[in-house]
Each structure stands twice: as structure tokens, then as C-alpha cells.
Amino acid sequence: MTGRLVLGAVTAGVLVLPLVAPTYQLTLMLPFMAYAVILLGLNLLFGYTGLVSFGHALFIGIGAYTGAVLTTHTRVRSLEVILLTAAVAAAAVAAPVGALCVRYVKIYFGMLTLAFGMVFYTFLLKFYGITGGDEGMRVLRPWLLGQDLGEMPKVAYLVGPYYYYSAAVLALATFGMWRIVRSPFGLCLRTIRDNPVKAESLGIGVVRYRWYAFTISAVYAAVGGALLGPPTGNVDPTLAYWTHSGNIVFMTLLGGFAHFFGPVLGAFVFIYLQDTVMSVVPYWRLVFGAILAFLVICAPGGLMGLFTRRRHPTPGAARA
């Protein structure tokens, strides 16, 4: 019950925020919402299936570049079409990549995903003619729900219609993921995480279910990635670099992978903390590295772990 109250309060807060909060805070909400979508997907793999991907930035990159390619090379401006295309493109890539990756677990899964991520990163970086190389590509302002908002001042566009649009996408994504993890499918994934041998003997197609989870989380990452582009108006290959994959795993851990909303909280805290730290010292990585080390050693349950007292399973706790 308290969970619903908190959720209701947060939703209300997100909706009224543009009326009260300063513009700058609102622009920080945009990457937060995009990352929240990405992390919901990542956590399906990390928290629920027990697989740690160190190449998920690949799909963020696919989503972000889908927006860039569509708006600059074609006449497509509609954000709905962009998100849909990003989702389809990610699924198309994730299906074969995932089919290879999910045959392995633990460190091998991590390495294989990292290698695929780096293939895509190198492609973005080296094929200058197609991707703009390290300069990246421009993302033209997309239409929302068929409305061409090109006349609007940029900031008004971002903290107004784009803000609500992102919030709506996040709400939809949250609802979808909530249904997924509560479904028999989600239960199967948790069984696989805790004990793949038992899961197999129960008749669950372990590899096939991992593959589904991989593909779904890739679609989430791409949709979130596509949302990341328009606020900055630019996408570049660092979105697909392996450290970016590390960062999103970090966000998940920060919030707490054992809880459904943990990663969303993690994204929120990460974005705002990063902004705060960067305004004080330029060395945010040093501070964040220390925080991560502290979390790993002392509080592996993340922030959510501090609120809930249940014993949490570890990701990949199941030994194959």
C-alpha cells in the first residue's frame, strides 16, 4: 500500500514539476527519464535474470543513432516513428547477438556483450561517411504526436512538450516492465537466475528465456537511447563506448537491482549527483568511483536496499 502511495506521489510530482521547478532542474529530468527507461530494461537482465551485460551501450547507441539518421537523412520527424524504428532496429540486432551471448553466463556473457558493444562503437567511430565519426551526428528536433513544434524556443520545447512526452514514455515503459516481471515469464526468469539447473528440469527453456530477456532489454535501451538524443541535439560514439555500459550498470547498482524501482531511483540519483559533483570539482569520476567501491563493499543492495530489510538475492547467484 505504501508502495502505491509513493508511486502516486512521485507521478504527481513529475507532472507538476514543470509548473514549480526551475528550468535547469527540468532539463536534468530529461536524461533521467531516458536513463530510467534504459535501466528498466537492463535490470530485466541484471536483477531478474542474473546476467550482467557490459555492452548494453550498444543498444543505447542504436536508439540514439536511429533518431539521428532518421531526422537528418530522411524526412521522418515524428518521434513516435523514431522510437518505434529504434525498438525494431534494436530487436533486429539483439536477436542474433543475444542468441550468441545467452549461451554463456557470468564472465563470458559479460565479455561477449562487451565485444559486440565495441564492434558497434568502432563502426560508429571509423565509418566517418555514414556516422560522422567522433563528431557524431545531429538530431533534428522531432515532432511530438504529429505536432511540428519547430517554432517553439528550444528550452520551452524541452521543458514543456518534450518533458511530458518523455514522462509518458517512461510511464508506459514502467507499466510494460511491471507487467513483464509480474507475469509467469518474469517468474521463470527469476527461477533461472536463482537456479538454472532446477529451472531446466522444471521444463523452462533456460536459454530461450534468457534470449527473450536480452531482446526485451535491448528494446528498452534503444527507446531510452532515442530519447537521449533530442535534448542535446547531437549523438556521438561515446554513447556506445564500454564505459557507458559500465555506468548504466553502476546506476542500477546504485539504486538497487533487487527492487523493481531501484534502477529508476539509481538513474535519478546518478544524474543529479553527477551534476552536483561536476559543479564543485571537475573530477566526478573520482568521486563516483569511490561511491561505487563503497556500494560494492558495504551496501550491495543499493539505495533501495537501505529501505527494505529483506534478504536480497545476488545477481547471477545461481551457479551454472
Binding site: Y108, A115, V119, Y283, R285, P300, A317
Partner: protein, 286 residues
């Protein structure tokens, strides 16, 4: 020939990665950052040496010494951080080394600034030689020789010394080694330091040939990673062969079709992981 030079450096870093993975089963993402640290400290040491009036011809001495000494950071990291997560899931171990990557990168920026640093002019102090119709800086040959010597040294250490036997026993079966009275804490600390020192030495030795940049570590880790995957996780021979494959392929790709350089390496990594996940010499099954 540049490919072999690169391979020699890669071997050192990858060997460090392998030693640690083989014994402690930790995939150390920070090995690239140790490499960068070794490079920066190496530059400072050489600059101090030249500044103090040391003969340029002897710059290799402070360089190698600095590289080895920074390896002692390994003790601090192992005792201060890593030992808390040995009984945890490997995800946490991986994330802890990622935390090190973040911290070390900024620590380097804080200490040495963001501008690339180099030991200008020292690269060719030993002159060049003509070899098989190509002009090769002698320094490259020195590093290749040093790397070969280290490879031989590690082989000797692992097979012929008492501590080497303990290390191999621990890698094989930790519980059994512990039951036989091996002091695990001490073995882990020494192994991690050895692995770190190999990385930092690699960084120090590469520096006369290139400039040190704060991103050099996170770029190298993925190459070292390619090396160990191709060669086989935890295998020294694997690190050697893998480094050769990656180094030579890179050199060939650069001269034939530069766009494909890294792409080719990652594609091979994927091919190896898919067809033979334990690599060419790996003994660990998935």
C-alpha cells in the same frame, strides 16, 4: 615490426590480467588504468632523471624502475579494496575494478593534467637499425627483448619456483591449497601486485614511443581483453599468442584498410568466444 612492438607491450598488460584472473578469478578491468598510471609515472621519472643531469642513454633504467615500483599500488588496491569481495558474486568484483577505472582516470587527470605528455626525443636515442629491409628504432627491439625475457621469466617462476607451484595450486583448487596450509591472503596480495606490476611496466615501456593520454588506459583494456579472449582466459601461453595475433593484425590492418583495424579484432574476439569460448590455450571451461 611496429606490430610486434605493440604485441610486446600488450603481452605485458595481458599477462598481468591473466595472472590475476588465473589465480583470483577476477577479471580486472582496471589493468588498463594501471598501464596508464605506469606510463605517467614513467614519464615523470624520466623527466626527473634527465632534469637531474642523467645521461639520456640510460633513461631506460629509471623508466623500468618507475614502472615496476608503481606496481606496488597493487598491494594497496588488493588489501584496501579487493579482499572484501572475494567471497562475493563476481559481478561485484567486476564492478569494483570498474570503480577503480573511474577513480584512477581522474587521479591521473588531477596529478598530470589533461594535456598529453611525452618524453620527446628519447625514442630514437638508441638509434635505428635496418632489419629485413625496414628501418626499426632500436628501442623497439629492446622492449621486444625485455618482453620475451619477462615471458620466459614468468614461465620459469610458475614452473620452477616454490611460490610458483603454490600459485598454480591455488589457481587449480583454492580450497585444497588452503587446506594444505597455503596462506591465501598473502598469495592473493602477491599475485595481484605481480599482475599490477606487469601492467604498469607495460605502460612505462610504451611511453618513449607514444604520448601519454588520460584515456590510454580505458582504450588499452579492451585490446588486452581481446588478447586474453583469443589466447584463452588464465593462460600465459594464451596471453603470448593472443598478443602476437592482435599486435600483428592491427599492424596489417592499419596498412591495408585502417577503418577495419579494431573492428577486425573485435570480430575475431566474437568468433573465438562463439566457437571456442576458452580460447586457444584456455583450460577453464564455461
Amino acid at each position: 615490426m611496429g606490430g610486434i612492438f605493440h604485441a610486446a607491450i600488450l603481452f605485458l598488460v595481458a599477462a598481468g590480467l591473466q595472472v590475476i584472473f588465473g589465480v583470483q578469478k577476477i577479471f580486472n578491468l582496471a589493468c588498463g588504468s594501471f598501464y596508464a598510471l605506469g606510463a605517467y609515472v614513467g614519464i615523470s621519472a624520466v623527466q626527473a632523471f634527465i632534469g637531474a643531469g642523467g645521461p639520456p642513454g640510460l633513461f631506460l633504467l629509471p623508466l623500468a624502475l618507475a614502472g615496476l615500483l608503481v606496481g606496488l599500488v597493487g598491494v594497496v588496491v588488493e588489501r584496501g579494496l579487493l579482499r572484501f569481495v572475494y567471497d562475493r558474486d563476481e559481478t561485484f568484483q567486476l564492478l569494483l575494478t570498474f570503480a577503480l577505472v573511474l577513480m584512477l582516470e581522474d587521479a591521473i587527470r588531477m596529478t598530470w593534467g589533461t594535456a598529453p605528455q611525452s618524453t620527446a626525443g628519447l625514442y630514437l636515442v638508441y638509434g635505428q637499425v635496418r632489419l629485413l629491409g625496414a628501418t626499426v628504432p632500436t628501442y623497439n627491439l629492446v622492449v621486444i627483448g625485455a618482453s620475451l625475457a619477462i615471458a620466459a621469466g614468468i614461465g620459469w617462476f610458475l614452473t620452477r619456483t616454490a611460490f610458483g607451484r603454490i600459485v598454480r595450486a591455488t589457481a587449480e583448487n583454492r580450497e585444497m591449497a588452503e587446506a594444505l596450509g597455503v596462506n591465501m591472503a598473502s598469495v592473493y596480495a602477491r599475485v595481484f601486485t605481480l599482475g599490477t606490476a606487469l601492467g604498469t611496466l607495460g605502460g612505462a615501456l610504451v611511453i618513449p614511443a607514444t604520448a601519454a593520454m588520460s584515456e590510454m588506459g580505458i582504450e588499452l583494456i579492451v585490446e588486452a581483453f581481446a588478447v586474453v579472449v583469443i589466447g584463452g582466459l588464465g593462460s600465459m601461453r594464451g596471453a603470448f599468442v593472443g598478443a602476437l595475433v592482435v599486435g600483428v593484425l592491427r599492424a596489417v590492418a592499419i596498412s591495408v584498410y585502417p577503418e577495419l583495424e579494431m573492428l577486425l579484432i573485435y570480430l575475431i574476439v566474437i568468433g573465438v568466444l562463439v566457437l571456442r569460448p576458452r580460447g586457444i590455450f584456455g583450460e577453464v571451461a564455461v
